[in-house]
């Protein structure tokens, strides 16, 4: 394990009697792209503001590079922030905005010129140096905010939902550029977002927040494929959730019933007969067969198609099971089935490969 760059030990934050963050312990490793993910109001921005020094923890300690920074003002911390609103200085040109941190350190003009030019080149804005901030588009302002924050080569760059005000296409492009920039600079990024797709595609590790505590920390693959609990499973990607009872255990397999159909699933969590669990299946793991396509329907659930959405690379279906429960299924065009022709109200058989489901302990 490398030495952590940022370490939070039992950090709590409350305003009066309202607790915002409860007992957060988290480490950030040098050079990683860490994403704080959660719905709005879950405390992720507050945590970021405690790292940058704009908020002080009510309890616990924050260490940056081994030094406790609890009482260190933002000016003294080797971290810079890209703000959600960008907070660019409207009275300064693009060049002077980027040069701001250097001017505050009274660095000589030649060095400022060279370093600002470098930073502007990194974000492809070298042609805009003399422009006023008001003359820039949202995407360009975003780049100025990034250049301004990296000019000082901070140990950690904090990004507070920086892409949320950009349109979809630009956001996609900036996601890729940010990731490239992070690799080029080999700088540590702590990124806050509520967009799970953004988190999955950019991060080395994701920290999932809910109601002021951490639900799970893991790589994008870990949090998607083995969610720690129901909230994570629902928050990351789409999930079909069945509440089931386990009837029996057979070696590695559990015996259960879904929608009156006997089924087997992998025993991943040391469950016993009589346990109640949540069974989660991702839409893309579900296969939907037409009545004529299958002969052996063992382990398959009967259903009726109620909605079909053609998405180009997939066909998304809503299937109504006999109990009235509606599940989502995404079907891919591949060698098995290159037509994917379904019609509304068609009777179908639904199934998934044993072991692709995820079992979680029952939560009330």
């Amino acid at each position: 394990m490398p030495i952590p760059l940022i370490e939070m030990k039992q950090v709590c934050k409350s305003y009066g009697t309202v607790a915002i963050l409860n007992n957060i312990s988290l480490t950030v490793h040098p050079g990683e792209f860490l994403t704080l993910l959660g719905p709005s109001g879950c405390g992720k921005t507050t945590l970021l503001r405690m790292i940058s020094g704009f908020e002080q923890p009510s309890a616990g300690e924050i260490y940056i590079n081994g030094q406790c920074v609890n009482h260190l003002p933002p000016q003294k911390r080797d971290v810079h922030t890209v703000f959600q609103s960008y907070a660019l200085f409207p009275h300064l040109s693009v060049f002077e905005n980027v040069a701001f941190a250097l001017r505050c350190q009274r660095i000589n003009n030649e060095e400022i010129d060279a370093r600002v030019d470098d930073a502007l080149r990194l974000v492809q804005l070298e042609a805009f140096a003399t422009r006023s901030i008001r003359q820039l588009s949202g995407g360009q302002q975003q780049r100025v905010a990034i250049a301004r924050a990296i000019i000082n080569r901070p140990k950690v760059l904090l990004l507070d939902e920086p892409l949320s005000s950009l349109d979809y296409r630009l956001r996609k492009a900036m996601q890729y550029e940010l990731k490239q920039l992070q690799k080029t600079l080999s700088m540590t990024f702590v990124f806050v977002t509520h967009d799970q797709e953004e988190a999955l595609s950019m991060s080395d590790r994701i920290v999932i927040f809910n109601h002021g505590h951490i639900e799970q920390v893991g790589t994008p693959r870990e949090v998607y494929e083995t969610p720690a609990n129901l909230h994570v499973a629902k928050f990351i990607g789409e999930a079909n959730i069945f509440d089931i009872d386990i009837h029996g255990v057979d070696k590695q397999n559990l015996l259960t019933t879904i929608e009156s159909t006997p089924l087997q699933c992998k025993n991943t969590g040391n469950y016993q007969a009589g346990d109640k669990v949540h069974l989660i299946v991702r839409p893309e793991d579900i296969r939907v067969w037409g009545e004529t396509e299958v002969t052996d329907t063992e382990g398959m659930l009967p259903g009726k198609i109620i909605d079909i959405v053609y998405k180009g690379s997939t066909v998304d279906l809503k299937v109504k099971l006999p109990s009235g429960k509606i599940i989502n299924a995404s079907e891919f065009f591949d060698e098995d089935d290159d037509k994917l022709e379904y019609s509304p109200n068609e009777t179908v058989w639904v199934h998934w490969v044993t072991g692709w489901e995820v079992l979680l302990p029952y939560e009330n």
């Binding site: 609103s85 907070a87 409207p90």
Partner: protein, 274 residues
């Protein structure tokens, strides 16, 4: 949306009738000759301006300018922190109303009431004596101090309002951004806050400086006979000497000064944007 063109035309007509035409009349009068019966008469002459190039006028002009500048500086030093507190306050509207309410009373009456505070056995001297800060009463009334106090008191809102408006629009997140980038208190103030509120400061100074040179009744009331300022001079020319062309010429000089300042402000404003 028929109302909008109408209101614009109305404002335009108003400014033309009651602003532009009187101004033209003043300019025309300044080139005419003094007449005891009709106030002004032909022939056209430059003599009204020529007479202003006198040591006496220069003396009055510069004394007024210095008093007006001191008033402006005092107003600014008081109004800048005051506007900041106002902009940050939760009770903005209440505080704003409290500033404006005194101005519902005539400015002349309020200026006279300053005498009660500043006079030899006035409130201020009594308080200072009781507090043992002074041994004998100070003669404050009929000094430049009294004039400047009166001017600052009367013109303070004209400095506060533009600065407050500017500060209220200021995005205080910029201060966080500056802190984040390592700016200390001085850098935050001089590199971020001051440049972003300079528009309000300049507007406020323009609104205070010119009236400070021409509010004739304040020097009249608080400055006594010794204090002749530009405003008193113009008043004298019109009402005592009945020399309207001369008074008009003096006013025109002041107007030109105002235009010059506005031009400098515009020029400076453009410099900021680029």
């Amino acid at each position: 949306m028929k109302i909008k063109p109408f209101s614009i035309h109305f404002i335009f007509a108003w400014v033309f009738l009651f602003g532009f035409i009187p101004l033209c009349l003043v300019v025309i009068a300044s080139f005419l000759t003094k007449d005891h019966v009709n106030l002004v008469s032909l022939p056209l002459t430059f003599s009204n301006y020529k007479e202003l190039f006198s040591p006496l006028f220069a003396k009055v002009f510069f004394r007024s300018l210095i008093i007006a500048l001191m008033t402006t500086v005092c107003c600014l030093l008081l109004a800048y922190p005051f506007s900041y507190l106002l902009a940050k306050s939760k009770h903005k509207s209440v505080l704003l109303v409290l500033i404006i309410i005194p101005f519902w009373t005539s400015s002349l009456i309020r200026t006279y009431s300053l005498i009660a505070i500043l006079k030899f056995n006035g409130i201020l001297n009594v308080i200072l004596l009781k507090a043992h800060l002074i041994n004998q009463p100070l003669s404050l009334l009929y000094t430049n101090f009294a004039v400047i106090t009166g001017l600052v008191y009367n013109l303070f809102p004209f400095m506060v309002l533009p600065i407050f408006t500017n500060m209220e629009r200021f995005d205080f997140r910029l201060i966080e951004a500056a802190k984040d980038l390592g700016a200390n208190k001085w850098a935050i103030f001089f590199r971020v806050f001051l440049p972003n509120t300079s528009g309000g400061i300049i507007s406020g100074c323009l609104l205070v400086l010119l009236p400070a040179m021409t509010l004739f009744y304040i020097p009249n009331v608080l400055g006594g006979a010794r204090s002749v300022l530009l405003g008193n001079m113009i008043q004298n020319q019109f009402l005592v000497l009945e020399n309207w062309p001369q008074g008009a010429a003096t006013s025109v000089i002041l107007t030109v000064l105002l235009l010059l300042l506005l031009f400098l402000y515009r020029h400076h404003g453009k410099g900021v944007i680029h």
